[in-house]
Amino acid sequence: MEQQLRKMTYRDALNEGLREALQKDERVFLMGEDVGRYGGCFAVSKGLLDEFGPERIRDTPLSESAFTGAGIGAALGGMRPIVEIMTVNFSLLALDQIMNNAATYLHMSGGLFNVPLVIRMATGGGKQLAAQHSHSLEGWYAHIPGIKVLCPATLEDARGMLWSALLDPDPVLIFEPAVLYPMERTLAVDAGPVAIDKAKLHREGKDLSLISYGSCLHKCFDAAAILAEDGIEVDVIDLRTLRPLDTESFLTSVAKTHRALIVDEGWRSGSLAAEVSARIMEQAFYQLDAPVERICSAEVPMPYAKHMEEAALPQVASIVATARRMVHG
């Protein structure tokens, strides 16, 4: 039987995921700035206020720390809150609550209190929003024990990760690359929850492992297609879950390709890409035919001008060029 597909945007898929969660579980509610009457700053929660009312689609004042912490409290109190922070840049105002409370409660209490909280936020550049609205900090968040960090890059994950995150007993952060919201693709009619503990191999090849996630994944797809024309066949791995990392996924790939290139929108120094590289170093050193390389964002606060922003972000051309050099020397 053929799978039925629908055309929709990444934004629609998120919206469906939210709607389904709110329908399935009375304890679920969405809370954040402008999630209700405005329809969501990126229109992700559009229509939900009408369907679920202002108690469950809860507009908050501009108080990132308090409403994120209130999400922790509500989770402790038996609810299943979804906190929306408009963008990761503003989440810095809530970091104390995220790191010092959400991530530590279970451990500090010796297992007494878990925090079943989901925090969603937009992330990343590419929209000319400059240095206070464009950074990719999801890899940085992945440093923190006690939280899980997801980054859906596909419609399937946009639709399905939320429910899986809500089933998780611990705090889960979901980072949505803002440039992907309008991306149109197809999704199976019966798409549902997805695993959140495994990376996904999207494309197979023998010559090189392209390891990525988020919006860069799509750049890797494009690069892979171009490379294929040259006869270079690459594995394309979507890490999906940035913490805990599915190390097995890329080690398996590297065991086959002996070469790895990581593409990550985070700033290079201290990027998630560094962690992936270090793990390959530790666990697959003797299988490598060449050093692992990274393509990351330039280490600058994001500039506004389009050409400068493009220069700061990883691009298909540099992925292709680097991959070629790595394979052909």
């Binding site: 308090a66 912490g69 409290g73 109190g77 006690g146």
Partner: protein, 334 residues
């Protein structure tokens, strides 16, 4: 540091209740005195913040709470943990870092938790508990549970942005939080006057349209009375209330505090108003207690504490193999 606006001494309710309040305060006092000894003996480590002098607050407020209510406290929370009903053994073992501690030795003095008694910490980030309390109350509101969440904090915490955000949220959304400010006039070495542009803390809270009361935090009967009224209001309205208890810590901020910022006279002046001493005197005046009852009380408490210490001493250390347990609920993931 004038206390002029504090109401007159409350009448003692009845003998039984008064004795109960005295006993609770003494339990805290003696427990903490023992803790300092054990600190010096290096059995307890890390930071140890004593509540000595402030016992009337935790004890008075606890009277107004039911077992179903929730408490969010600070790193100065031994008193709250004890009056909440936790066993001294579990607390002491925690401070020893033993596996039978309430948090299996992972929290220590600053992080006492108890699921049964709904004590949600023990938070060592000043102001960190405000949003948690708002969220617990939000959960009750959404689940239509008529419970109170009691949020305790020092006056120093009121300068933090989270106080502001949380007061506003609680009031805007009409959530059942009882905010209890333990105003001991100092945040470490910083006097209230150096921390707040407005030192009348009730007026600060009133700016969020939250009803307020101020009470003499050295008078346990007064605190119990005020807390009862406050929590009744919260229960009736489902909305927040702000209760300021003016009190004083007799000891240094923690075990590492040369106390350069306040005079011995000032401390001694407040010690005259010791909540335990004054209640004892009033009970004696009334003829509700005599020396032998008091002695018996002290003996019982000494026994309770001794057995708590014993329990902590006997308890095992958590196995190091369990180091990464409780990072996630599904053990093993990292």
């Amino acid at each position: 540091m004038t206390n002029t606006d504090i109401k007159a001494r409350q009448p003692l309710a009845n003998q039984e209740q008064s004795l109960h309040l005295l006993r609770q305060m003494l339990r805290i006092r003696r427990f903490e005195e023992k803790s300092t000894e054990l600190y010096s003996a290096m059995k307890i480590r890390g930071f140890l913040h004593l509540y000595i002098g402030e016992e009337a607050v935790a004890v008075g407020v606890a009277e107004a709470l039911s077992t179903d209510d929730a408490v969010v406290a600070t790193y100065r929370e031994h008193g709250h943990a004890i009056v909440r009903g936790m066993s001294m053994g579990a607390i002491m073992a925690e401070m020893y870092g033993k596996v039978d501690g309430c948090c299996r030795g992972r929290g220590g003095s600053m992080h006492l938790f108890d699921a049964e008694h709904r004590l949600y910490g023990g938070n060592a980030i000043v102001g960190g508990g405000f949003p948690i309390a708002v969220g617990l109350a939000l959960a009750d509101h959404l689940q239509k549970k008529a419970r109170v969440t009691c949020c305790c904090f020092g006056e120093g915490a009121m300068a933090e942005g989270e106080f502001h955000e949380s007061m506003n949220l609680a009031s805007l959304w009409q959530l059942p939080v009882l905010f209890v400010c333990e105003n001991n006039f100092y945040a470490m070495g910083t006097a209230l006057e150096l921390s707040e542009s407005v030192v009348d803390l009730s007026s600060k809270a009133a700016a969020y349209a939250v009803p307020t009361a101020t009470v003499d935090g050295m008078d346990v009967i007064a605190v119990a009375e005020a807390a009862k009224k406050a929590s009744d209001t919260v229960r009736e309205t489902g909305a927040p209330f702000f209760l300021e208890c003016r009190t004083y810590r007799f000891r240094p901020h923690s075990m590492f505090d040369p106390e350069l910022y306040r005079s011995k006279q000032e401390v001694d002046g407040w010690k005259q108003r010791c909540p335990i001493l004054s209640l004892t005197n009033r009970l004696k005046e009334k003829g509700w207690i005599d020396d032998s009852t008091l002695e018996k009380l002290e003996e019982d408490i000494a026994t309770e504490i001794a057995s708590a210490v014993d329990f902590a001493e006997q308890s095992e250390w958590e196995s190091v193999e369990d180091l990464t347990r409780f990072v996630y609920s599904d053990v093993g993931v990292n």
